[in-house]
Symmetry: C2
Subunit: 343 residues, 2 copies
C-alpha cells in the first residue's frame, strides 16, 4: 500500500530543507563545487542517494542552455547499415552520458525539414545525420547550422553543405567491384540503384561507369536500373523486366535491400547466380555468407562510421577544434563470395 502513494517528487528544495542548508549548497555540493566543505558535500550526497534524488533534466537544460542530448536523423532503420551505425554512435554517446533522440525521415524531404524545425531552440546540442534520398533543397540544414548547432553527416552527405562528413570511398568501391565482375568474365554489367540526390549514389554510379570506360566499354543507358527505395515486390518486377530485356551477365546493386530483390528476380527468371549472372551488392547483412549462393558484398564500415561521427561531434561540443569542413573517408571492403565466381 505505502508504495502506491505517489511520493512527492524529491527536488533540491526538499533536499535543502531536510539537510537544513540552502538550495544553492545542494546544487553546488552535487556538482562537487569548491565552494562547499567536504563534510557538507558528503551529507548532501548521502541524503540525495537516500531519497533517490534525480535532478530534473529540463530545469537543468533550461538554465545551462545545454541539453546533453544529440539527435540521430536517418532515413530508416530497417537495414543493417543504419543499425550498425547507430550502434557505433551509441557506443560513444553512452560513455559521454548523453542522450539520443532518434528521428526517421523515411526518405522524405518534408519530414526531414519538419524535424529540423523541431530541433531549433536547443532541444539538442548536436546532430548526426544521413540525408533523405529525395532531399534536394538544403535550406533547413543550413538554418540549423547557422543557429550554432553542429551537424555531422555520415554516408549520405551533400556536396554543397560545409560540414564534417564521414563517408566511405563509394567511387572506389564501386570501381573495384565493377572491375572484379569484369575480371570474373562479365561483359554486360548492369547497375541496380535507387533514385535520389545524395552524392553517395552518384559516386557509386560514377565508379561503375569509370571502370567500364577504362575497359573501353560504354554502357548503354539502359544498363542502369532505378528502383524504389522501399523494400517491395515492385522492385522484383522491375529487375525481372530488366533481366529479360537487357540480359546482363553481371549486376551491382547499390543498396542493401536490392540484394534480396535481385536474388528473387534471378530465381524467378530461372537465372543461375553466378553462372548466368554474377551479383555484388553494397550490404552489411550478416546473412551474406549463407545466401544461395553466398553473396559478394561491398561491406561498409558502418559501426566505425557511426563511432567516428559521434566522436567528431563530441570533439566539437567539447570545444576542441574541429576543421569545419573535414571529410573523413573510410574504406569499404570487397568481400568476394560465390555470387561472383568465375564460371
Amino acid at each position: 500500500m505505502a508504495s502506491e502513494i505517489k511520493s512527492d517528487k524529491v527536488n533540491m528544495k526538499a533536499l535543502a530543507k531536510v539537510l537544513n542548508v540552502s538550495i544553492a549548497t545542494v546544487s553546488k555540493a552535487l556538482r562537487d563545487s569548491h565552494d562547499i566543505g567536504p563534510e557538507t558535500k558528503l551529507r548532501v550526497i548521502e541524503e540525495a542517494r537516500k531519497l533517490n534524488y534525480v535532478p530534473n533534466p529540463y530545469a537543468s537544460s533550461l538554465r545551462k542552455k545545454a541539453s546533453n542530448t544529440i539527435a540521430i536523423i536517418i532515413p530508416e532503420i530497417a537495414d543493417s547499415f543504419f543499425s550498425q551505425a547507430i550502434n557505433g554512435i551509441e557506443s560513444v554517446v553512452a560513455i559521454k552520458k548523453y542522450h539520443t533522440l532518434i528521428y526517421l525521415t523515411h526518405d522524405s524531404y518534408e519530414r526531414e525539414a519538419y524535424m529540423f524545425g523541431e530541433l531549433a531552440s536547443g532541444r539538442v546540442d548536436g546532430v548526426i545525420m544521413s540525408v533523405a534520398s529525395n532531399t534536394e533543397d538544403t535550406k533547413h540544414i543550413k538554418t540549423l547550422q547557422d543557429s550554432g548547432i553542429p551537424i555531422v553527416f555520415f554516408d549520405r552527405v551533400f556536396d554543397d553543405i560545409k560540414s564534417v562528413k564521414i563517408t566511405t570511398d563509394d567511387f572506389n568501391s564501386a570501381y573495384t567491384a565493377t572491375n572484379h565482375l569484369l575480371d570474373a568474365g562479365c561483359k554486360n554489367i548492369s547497375l541496380i540503384t535507387i533514385k535520389g540526390y545524395p552524392s553517395i549514389l552518384s559516386a557509386r554510379e560514377e565508379g561503375y561507369q569509370q571502370a567500364l570506360a577504362e575497359k573501353g566499354i560504354h554502357p548503354r543507358e539502359s544498363s542502369v536500373v532505378t528502383c524504389s527505395n522501399k523494400y517491395n515486390n515492385e522492385n522484383v518486377e522491375v529487375i525481372k523486366e530488366h533481366l529479360a530485356k537487357v540480359k546482363p551477365d553481371g549486376i551491382i546493386a547499390t543498396v542493401e535491400h536490392l540484394a534480396t530483390s535481385t536474388y528473387l528476380a534471378c530465381d524467378e527468371m530461372k537465372l543461375n547466380i553466378p553462372k548466368d549472372v554474377k551479383v555484388a551488392c553494397f550490404t552489411n547483412q550478416i546473412t551474406a555468407p549463407i545466401l544461395n549462393p553466398p553473396l559478394t558484398t561491398i561491406l561498409q564500415p558502418a559501426y566505425d562510421m557511426g563511432k567516428q561521427a559521434a566522436q567528431l561531434l563530441f570533439d566539437h561540443l567539447s570545444g576542441r577544434y574541429v576543421e569545419t569542413n573535414k571529410e573523413i573517408v573510410l574504406p569499404s571492403k570487397l568481400v568476394v563470395r560465390a555470387s561472383t565466381a568465375f564460371n
Copy 2:
C-alpha cells in the same frame, strides 16, 4: 557575412516586444487560447513564423511537467526484429508529434538499471521496453512505475511485473514449429537458444518440450544448446560441437542471429540442410527466402508489436483507460521454406 552573425535566439519575450503585447498574450495566442482575440492571434502567429520562432522545449516541459518524449529501451538494434519494432513505434510517435529517446542496454542489467535512473524526474512521459536478457531483479522497473511513468513491455517481458505487455504466442509458435519438424520426419530435435531470464525464452523452450512430450519423446537435456547472445564465431563452435556430439536431425533456433551461426556450423560440418538436419528459426530477416536453403522462419509481427505498444502507451498518456495488467498476444507465423523440407 550577415548570415554568420549568430542571431539572438528569438523567444517569447522578443516576440512580445516587437508585437507590443505581453508575453502571456504571445503564449496564449500560439496555443490558440480563447483568451485572445482573433486578429491578435493572427498577428502573433504571423510574426512568429516570420522570425522563425520555435518554443524552447525545455522551458515548456519544465513548466508543464510533460516532456512530449518517450523512451525506447531495448537490448540492441542489430537485428531485424528490433529494427522493425522501432519502425512500428515510430509510426505512432511521429503522428503524435512526440520525440523518441533510444537506449541500448546491450543485454546488461547494470546498464538497464542505470538508464532507468536517468529517466526519473520527468525526462520522459512514458517508456516502451524489451528487457535485457540478464535482468533478473526488477526493482529499477518497479521504482520508475511507482513514480507514475507508464511502461509498456514488448517481446521480452517479465511475468512478475504488472504492466501492459505485448508479446507473441511464443509457446504456441515453438510448439507449432517443433511439430512441423516432427511432421517432416525429425526424430531428434535440438533447441538452440541463449541464456536469459525473460519469459519469452522459457516459453519457447516449453513449447518445444511440450510438442515432443506429446509425441512421447523425452528429449535429453543435452538437446538444448545455450549460446551467447552476441553474434560471434564462438557460437558457431558451440553448435558444431553439439552437431558432432548429439547428431540432431532437426534444429530450432530461438533468436535471429543464431540462424547464421547454425547455417555456418552445418556447412562446416558438411551437413546438408534439410537432408541431414532441418532448421527453423525465430527471425524476421528479409533474406530468409534467398538463403541456402531458404529458411523456414517463425516470423514475429515486429512492426505491429511496436505499433500496438506505442498506441497503448499513448492511450495511457492521454488519460484513456488502459487496463493496468493488459496482455496482448499477437500471433507469429510459421513460414515454411526449404530448410525443413521432407526428405
